[in-house]
């Protein structure tokens, strides 16, 4: 990880020195254990703040739409897929972005770790190869990274950036065996009533903070439907109908665009299982229209096009 950090700093300095970019977006050390935080570097003297570790979970592609600067961006597999989507949607140009691609073995879910600690708090965390050493009051524990990955990382099938301008480190082996839609299928196997109950339980936790929306690289609308007053599509209260429709439409809006980076899921302070919604969208788009988002720059986004032979059994 240290080598990766050094390599990121070197390339950042080089890009800034040669004036190939105005800005590097990467990560720096966070203020609390198991956190890294987005970092904006505009001069070589600041470049040494850049780091890489298993806590670089944010999808930095979020910061690309509307940017005027030429940006060097540190990007994992999922982040690169988001960047591809944004380029296709004309939110940023290919020429404007210099992708510093990083093959990724998955990021750590600190909430999963915390849940294991029985209320004990982590004061310090050290990363060592495949393990993390946790220290705190009455706490000293070594945990295996792979047991505490984010859910989106556990089902990831594109750990390696699919495009990049420079790749740091060696490519990692992609998980070919994973059934990324297992949970969706399990959910589908339940009855209507069970599904509705479970969905309403999830969304009734929602506090309408819109962190899921704001963390998503594809939520860049000038005015979101929830904010529109003419017409006001849904009310501002947290009653179930309002929150349910918010989450349905949010998921619908990223159908065919979502790359399952998991940013929404991680951002949610209330622990709503948002991937249960987005993963279904992703699965259906794949099954019905044979499209996978963010894999290349050429394919036309599935909901912006059609095939005369698209399935229509559901239409009378």
């Amino acid at each position: 990880m240290l080598n990766t950090s050094v390599a990121i700093r070197d390339i950042a300095k080089k890009l800034l020195d040669e004036k190939k970019v105005d800005l590097i977006i990467g990560f720096e050390k966070g203020s609390v254990p198991l956190r890294s935080t987005p970092c904006f570097v505009r001069s070589t003297s600041e470049a040494d703040r850049l780091i890489w570790n298993v806590n670089c979970e944010n999808n930095l592609a979020k910061y690309l739409p509307k940017t005027k600067e030429r940006v060097g961006i540190v990007a994992k597999g999922c982040d690169v897929r988001s960047i591809i989507g944004l380029i296709k949607e004309n939110q940023v140009t290919k020429e404007q972005v210099f992708i510093i691609g990083i093959p990724c073995k998955g990021m750590i879910d600190r909430r999963k770790i915390e849940a294991k600690l029985d209320g004990k708090e982590i004061i310090e965390a050290e990363e060592e190869d495949d393990t993390i050493i946790l220290k705190g009051h009455n706490l000293r524990e070594t945990i295996k990274k792979e047991e505490f990955l984010h859910n989106s990382c556990k089902t990831c099938t594109h750990r390696n950036p699919v495009i990049y301008d420079v790749l740091i480190g060696d490519k990692v082996v992609e998980d070919q065996a994973v059934d990324e839609y297992r949970e969706v299928k399990e959910f589908e196997a339940q009855s209507h009533d069970e599904r509705w109950q479970s969905f309403s339980d999830e969304v009734s936790k929602c506090i309408r903070c819109y962190a899921c929306r704001n963390a998503c690289p594809f939520c860049y609308c000038q005015e979101c439907f929830v904010d529109s007053s003419q017409p006001q599509w849904i009310g501002k209260t947290t009653n179930l109908s309002n929150t349910a429709i918010f989450h349905i439409v949010r998921a619908f809006h990223i159908a065919g665009r979502c790359v399952d980076c998991g940013a929404c899921d991680r951002a949610c302070p209330m622990g709503i299982d948002l991937r249960r919604l987005t993963k279904k969208m992703e699965m259906d788009v794949k099954e019905l229209f044979h499209y996978e988002a963010g894999i290349n720059l050429e394919d036309v986004p599935p909901l912006a096009t059609f095939n005369p032979d698209d399935p229509q059994e559901f239409i009378m």
């Binding site: 959910f187 589908e188 209507h192 009533d193 069970e194 599904r195 509705w196 109950q197 479970s198 969905f199 309403s200 439907f225 599509w233 849904i234 009310g235 009653n239 109908s241 309002n242 349910a244 429709i245 349905i248 439409v249 998921a251 619908f252 159908a255 919604l277 279904k280 969208m281 259906d284 788009v285 019905l288 229209f289 599935p302 909901l303 912006a304 096009t305 059609f306 095939n307 005369p308 698209d310 399935p311 229509q312 559901f314 239409i315 009378m316």
Partner: protein
């Protein structure tokens, strides 16, 4: 439009039908002109094209108390705007699956292609949708309750 007869205590389904201007609305018109009988439970909203139907319109109908929603446009290949119903079809496919996935009862939201010549099909369709929604009972999921 004739109001559904609501006898005291007897529930009648309320169905919102979004019909495209060029085919389905004309189909409904033909059903009327041809004096075909069909249940009076649908409230028709004419839209320029099935491509205009945003999922928000459907969800908002359900939020405000529609027991069922019917969306209908021109048959594939017949769209007045050349290909909008093809694009809409993709949206509908995703939405249809998604609502069912979340536990909205199958049949609350239905889709159809009705041409201007299909007055009979329209009447039969409304008959069918009304009966299906009636069997499902009053909508409760997604309905906004005060409190």
């Amino acid at each position: 439009m004739q109001q559904p007869r609501e006898k005291a205590g007897e529930w009648e389904p309320k169905i919102i039908a979004f019909l495209c201007n060029w085919c389905s609305y004309a189909g409904a018109d033909l059903a009327g002109v041809s004096r075909l009988q069909y249940p009076p439970n649908t409230r028709i909203i004419r839209v320029p094209c099935s491509g205009r139907i945003s999922p928000l319109l459907i969800l908002r109908s359900l939020q405000h108390g529609a027991d069922g929603v019917l969306v209908s446009g021109c048959h594939p290949g017949d769209c007045h705007y050349i290909s909008s119903n093809y694009v809409a079809r993709r949206k509908f496919a995703i939405l249809n699956n998604f609502l069912e996935y979340l536990g909205i009862e199958k049949g609350r939201v239905q889709f159809a292609w009705i041409s201007a010549a299909e007055g009979k099909k329209f009447a039969e369709l409304v008959q069918k949708v009304t009966e299906e929604v009636r069997t499902l009972g009053p909508a409760t999921r997604l309905v906004r309750k005060q409190g």
